[in-house]
Symmetry: none
């Protein structure tokens, strides 16, 4: 572990909400190990400023709001990482939707905090991300874990045609079969009677020309369903 070598850690903030931004800057100033070097209220002005800043005043960590007017925080992070791959980004948001989390990760953000995170936590996160970690608010981490458990769901194409002429209901049930659930468990998940589930599965088998769960799972995965 490397402790702070009394060097100031340079931090930037990109946040359109006035009160929130000012308050954040204010609070961060109580931490002598941090130095706020660049504050912007839009992605545009941030990107512009950072490009003409002299090297000595470049931030090492950026607190980036996701919801910004104009260029979003995600797009801004993407562009930032093009020119400054070494700068670490912590996304700041009030939302926890999968899509934005997933995009943020792919665009290179390493931290993900909810806006109601306590200031001490924020400061810790800044230090942690600077040491190579990825601070993530627990409620968001939950969704990240789901992505790991079920990656396909997040790579799924917007409009994929349904193979084997499976009806939407059947497709849904097939997903559960792929996940190794029993008929009873599926029934509970989709609020149907186990017999209905069974009927669906029988029809699925007919359409897919299989006669066991294992074969159906193989077929489904090979055809990129699930």
């Amino acid at each position: 572990m490397d402790s702070d070598q009394s060097k100031l850690l340079k931090v930037s903030i990109v946040e359109d909400h006035d009160i929130f931004r000012k308050r954040l800057v204010e609070l961060l100033q109580f931490y002598p190990e941090l130095e706020v070097v660049l504050v912007a209220e839009s992605a545009e002005s941030f990107l512009q400023k950072i490009k003409r800043n002299d090297l000595e005043q470049q931030p090492e960590v950026v607190l980036m709001d996701i919801e910004l007017p104009g260029i979003s925080g995600i797009e801004a992070t993407f562009q930032l990482k093009q020119d400054f791959p070494g700068v670490e980004v912590i996304m700041f948001t009030v939302f926890e939707d999968d899509e934005r989390i997933f995009e943020s990760i792919n665009v290179g953000a390493s931290g993900y905090l909810l806006k109601d995170t306590a200031i001490e936590e924020v400061v810790n996160s800044i230090k942690e991300i600077h040491n190579g970690g990825s601070p993530i608010s627990p409620s968001i981490a939950k969704k990240v874990l789901d992505m790991v458990k079920n990656p396909e769901a997040f790579h799924a194409a917007p409009q994929q045609e349904i193979p084997f002429d499976l009806s939407p209901a059947e497709l849904k049930i097939l997903q559960h079969v792929v996940d190794g659930k029993t008929n009873k468990q599926i029934a509970e998940d989709v609020f149907l009677s186990p017999w209905t589930v069974k009927t669906h599965i029988k029809n699925i088998y007919k359409k897919m020309h299989v006669n066991s769960r294992a074969a159906a799972v193989k077929m489904a995965l090979r055809r990129n369903l699930a």
Copy 2:
């Protein structure tokens, strides 16, 4: 947000290291909102105890050491989740290797903390996991994000490496399972008794942390066996 309704949050600890375990129990006792209801120094004794505990004394959150003699924390979590799906598990470890993190996620652990985490953080994590979040130490979260960014690397072995420590015989049988064969059919194909095939499959399940053919097939295909 729901705050504590002055109800005790019941916590269990599974940890073989004497000093660490005792210290942890000691420290947790300073938090009146928590109640340590079950402490074990091995997965075996933990699983045994929890099964004969009366419902009132069942833990809601378990702090599980990964590195345990005998049954590992991962295997223990897997078994625990079978019988008590509602119990949340926080893995506790000194290691940060991908394989164990990945397996922990897949067996259903929702939290992942390094052993050097401060006690206040541990307590926060316990509360957060109880509220549906997934507290993860930043250095581990880093690896989880990598899994999201590059899922293939964790679902596909680089080249011909046998995942899950499956023996050659087991691997062969797994192939047949993936092909949707019944135990009897497999037995005929490999010239073994159906009981032997069954035993192999049971062992395969244990190693892969699954409990049905469908789940095994999914796992196998994900890891490019077959």
